[in-house]
Subunit: 414 residues, 2 copies
């Protein structure tokens, strides 16, 4: 690999140098968030930003969860105080399901996605056909702003109008595609049917849904290298693949944590599945410990491609496991709280089943040594914390699945 294989020198920094730079930037971003965002001014009222210079210090800060933004923005329009400026000073304003609202500014490559395009082989002067939607949501704009920052021309294809999109590609001959994983295949098949060729496309960066191995193989057969970006409406590109195809490499402007779902606590060790929580260093839309609501896990070790940043496994499910048991809401943070009160317990999981139409929750705990007295104490704690009773069952440490679930709902819908 030559230096031309990397978007910038940040990607190949020594991990310790990156960590030092990120932690210095973190303190600044916490200060910036507190100063400019009404939400963080309140949330960080008692936080001294100068002290937030380590992952341990970061781990003590409260988490802002995506699903909470719906109520927050409804109560306090337009954006629940999360906006760092009057929205008239933004450049684009979006909405995504919830509704939740987001914005961008003129800051080039606002979403730090140019490095994802670059890793996918896309270069200055390339023409990129962008089949995400430009309407209302940030979808297309993540790739659009990245392609423009990289110096690419963009065909704003949007969604739908498949035949028209194929016709413009056949005429303009873009070398790159950005969009959902499956739509490029649909366009290739449509082109075949119309007797047109879109074989100019050699590189693709996809997102917004899973890229299944057989789909990646289909593209490879057609001479297209197809890589993935994991992006959200608020944060843009969080992590992306490289030609090494070993996990997703975190973007240089993001600090990624994986938490025990529903808590503010990082998982005990790399590899454990948990809630994806991101701090972005973009000063124009500061989000500190922002939970996207997704599950992921850290992939230990460095990428063989030469990029030295942390890698994650990509999307592993939804993090929000809140459910109703005998009429009471039970949240994953309550399960984590029960575990925290009993040092004998390693991990635990509430399994909610039903017997003869009645909810039958069991609290399964990993414990090195169990006893009837411990079971009794845990049951009492569970009832106190969750306002509902559950049977306590001990399992050997390591026996609960590593899937990030604190609550597993196995009730069948009648």
């Amino acid at each position: 690999m030559t230096s031309g294989d990397f978007y910038d020198a940040l990607e190949t920094r020594a991990p310790a140098a990156r960590e030092a730079a990120l932690m210095a930037a973190l303190a600044e971003q916490v200060a910036n968030a507190k100063a400019r965002s009404g939400w963080y001014a309140k949330l960080f009222k008692d936080v001294d930003p100068r002290a937030i210079t380590s992952r341990a210090a970061l781990a003590r800060l409260p988490v802002t969860r995506k699903h909470d933004l719906i109520a927050l923005m409804k109560e306090n329009p337009p954006m629940g105080g999360l906006e760092a400026m009057p929205l008239g000073e933004a450049s684009l304003i979006f909405t995504s399901p919830g509704p939740i609202f987001e914005y961008t500014t003129d800051r080039p490559d606002f979403y730090d996605a140019a490095r994802a395009l670059y890793a996918a082989g896309i270069r200055k002067g390339d023409i990129v056909h962008n089949s995400f939607s430009y309407h209302l949501t940030p979808g297309a704009w993540v790739m659009h702003s990245a392609a423009r920052a990289l110096g690419c021309a963009v065909i704003p294809g949007g969604v739908g109008n498949t035949e028209q999109q194929v016709q413009v590609m056949a005429q303009i001959k873009p070398v790159a595609y950005a969009g959902t994983p499956d739509f490029l295949k649909i366009m290739i098949e449509t082109a075949d049917k119309l007797g047109l060729s879109i074989a100019s496309v050699k590189k693709a960066l996809v997102g917004g849904g899973p890229l299944f191995p057989q789909l990646r193989a289909f593209y490879k057969e057609r001479g297209i290298q197809c890589l993935q970006s994991f992006a959200t409406a608020e944060l843009g590109n969080i992590a992306h693949e490289s030609p090494a195809l070993e996990g997703l490499i975190v973007a240089e402007s993001k600090i990624v944590e994986v938490l025990v779902p529903g808590t503010r606590d990082p998982v005990a060790e790399a590899g454990q599945v948990g809630e994806l929580v991101v701090t972005t260093l973009n000063p124009d839309f500061p989000l500190v410990r922002f939970s996207t609501g997704d599950l992921t896990a850290v992939l230990p070790g460095p990428s063989p491609c030469g990029r030295t940043n942390m890698r994650i496994k990509g999307w592993m499910g939804r993090a929000d496991q809140t459910t109703k048991v005998r009429g009471m809401f039970v949240h994953p943070e309550q399960i984590a709280e029960v575990v925290k009160r009993h040092p004998e317990l390693k991990r635990a999981r509430l399994v909610v089943d039903a017997e003869e139409g009645l909810d039958a929750p069991t609290f399964r705990c990993e414990a090195a040594a169990s006893s009837p007295a411990l079971a009794d104490a845990v049951a009492k704690t569970f009832q106190a914390v969750c306002k509902v009773r559950a049977a306590v069952i001990f399992v050997e440490p390591g026996k609960l699945p590593n899937d990030g679930k604190l609550i597993e709902d196995v009730r069948k819908v009648a």
Copy 2:
């Protein structure tokens, strides 16, 4: 009116100063077109750009007609030589019906539409809800690039999703709307139905279709000032209304001519309806004497708003009147040619009717004095030029309608 009422000082220049500046820029643009565009290199092979410093000199240059681009671009992809750069150096690439292809570059306010927004009362820091389509066509991008150049934030509403567009407006409270004339009314009625308010909207700039007086009145009643821009995919904003509501004022980067349809000749006097032909001074996509295929007329005199540029009446129909008579295509330029060959004729018009299922064309000419000999001569010329016979009828000068039509097809479709 104060100076704050104008986008820039160009708008209130003394007409002679503007004309001098435009003519100097014209020579430069002709040179630029010849140097950078393969199409104009060929078309202007024998043209000395330094000589094109007057409207009379401009009037001798050939016209490039929009409908000819379809074949041109098909034969010589990607853009028939009209592109002034490799398309990978563009910023956006579009298609519009035909198909015809267009592009933009990074040049701020590429389409000179910021002054149209400004005339509609829209200012830096305003939030603009943009309901044109961002997908494939330049529609939304004309207003988008203008709003961004002006320093406005944009909600990229796009087309469709009416309820979702209304919901984001109710939350974000944009002060301005850009889109088709009727869609804002549809959104207002949808908001009423949903119990939401989008009364934050006070200013609108519309295009892409006619703004009927009763629709303008509806908006006025709702406290919304609604003005029009006349824009095309290739040129962007050609002319726009001001609060004076007297015609559309030509954009400062455009040189507008009104031609006898199908010819390269300007109409004899201001006010006559003819083919809209535009030379843009944007160096990145040079178009010289580009016919949009529309009819318009110059509105004599200056606008009461203080803007001193030429005014036009807006869209008055399609310029392309080519039709088939007894199996032969007849083009408006052929009608103009017949008139040119007989100095006794002022204007003429071919009226194509049918009698008992057979085409019955009459060539109606304005002539100060008529004679059977002249009628005979004109009929012979007509047949020589048009390859088809027509009855010649004389009318008094000024009796033919001023609607830009050289061919009027009054045959009923069975």
